[in-house]
């Protein structure tokens, strides 16, 4: 991460911590959810901006996911979505597609990323327009609900994987 990126992110973290303390102690009154949404959007953009073209593609992909997650949270906050299960499947596809678009912009020589991104986004739009009431969307929604219920177990699994494979880091 570049020096300006570090400064922006660290300042944001300090402000978030201070605001939260002020909110908890009753000095300030604001919705924490709204702040988190804006932070997702802000940090998503900052991570993408500071990692693009810097050989930090993992972080670039994550930055794109954070930004799209911020947009999705903003949509659900501002608009009344009747059935959130129906939009989860296309949203995840679109989010992964956006991540691959960023990878393509980072390195335009890799045309494969553009093909995958286009494919994911097309499937996402197609699913949104034509499959909104189909069994696939509803089943995918159920799978997502199960994964959402067990997210701590998934996080632990990811953590253990990173710790167990730590020696592999040096081989990349």
């Amino acid at each position: 991460m570049s020096r300006p990126g570090k400064v922006i992110i660290s300042t944001g973290l300090i402000i978030l911590g201070l605001l939260n303390i002020l909110s908890e102690t009753g000095v300030l009154n604001f919705e924490l959810n709204t702040l988190i949404i804006h932070l997702f959007l802000f940090y998503g953009l900052i991570i993408v901006m500071t990692t693009i073209g810097r050989n930090s593609r993992g972080l670039l992909f994550i930055g794109a996911q954070i930004f799209i997650a911020g947009i999705a949270m903003l949509m659900t906050e501002k608009f009344e979505i009747l059935n959130s299960v129906k939009i989860l499947f296309p949203s995840v596809l679109f989010s992964f597609g956006a991540g691959f678009v960023m990878l393509y912009i980072d390195n335009p020589k890799e045309k494969t990323f553009l093909i995958i991104a286009s494919l994911l986004m097309l499937i996402s739009i197609f699913a949104m327009l034509f499959l909104s009431n189909s069994g696939i969307i509803l089943s995918a929604g159920r799978v997502i609900n199960i994964l959402l219920a067990f997210w701590p177990v998934i996080l632990s699994m990811m953590g253990i994987t990173l710790l167990v494979n730590k020696n592999e880091a040096s081989s990349h």
């Binding site: 991460m1 908890e24 930090s56 990811m158 990173l162 730590k166 880091a169």
Partner: protein, 227 residues
Amino acid sequence: MNNELNNTEKTISDNNTSPEFGNHSQRVLLRSQSDKIITGLCGGIADYTKLDSTFIRILFVLLILLGGWGIVIYLIASLFVPSGKEDLTMEKSEQRKIIKENRQVLSGSILLIVGLFFTLELYGIIEFFYFAGIPPVIFWSLSVIIAGVYLFKGGWNELPKTEFSVLNKSATHKRIAGICGGMAKYMHIDTGFMRIVWLIGTFLTFGTGIIIYLILWLALPAEGEKQ
């Protein structure tokens, strides 16, 4: 970690042959400057005890679950244990290897602690507790501020530059076609982590991950082949 690289184990060879001391070496506990994530305490303990620093770090992480006292012990010990000298002879590649491993351990520990905490909470084994006597919300706010200060002070250093990698199927980190291995290498992340993300993505997108995998299998060259 990398005991051969340690610079913290200050071995004082006592050449005094008097019967009072005899021929022996004395090891001193110092905070590591090479194997360091926050203050280098775990690296120093690992060098001193000849254990893997990851093992020490996991122990400290698990101590957080016991009311957050692991953090307090860590901070107090860091104040009292002196810092070791920086190893100026260490090569860039070795430095990069240690930074990368430590980052992976740090990320893995954070994921593990958050996951374990909420898993235990899911089954009612643990509840939100006062971390070291501090209310949870204040604790999290302070943690966020400390993370900001750590980042600002340059604790998270930029990795030394490496060559620009090309996306291809991995020959070394391969289970089916080496796609996850190749992607992990390209994105500078762990292969196991990449596989889990791919698997979850496939579930979330109801099998689209398999289609993407097959496309990449056909489209990508094998490692060492020209594109």
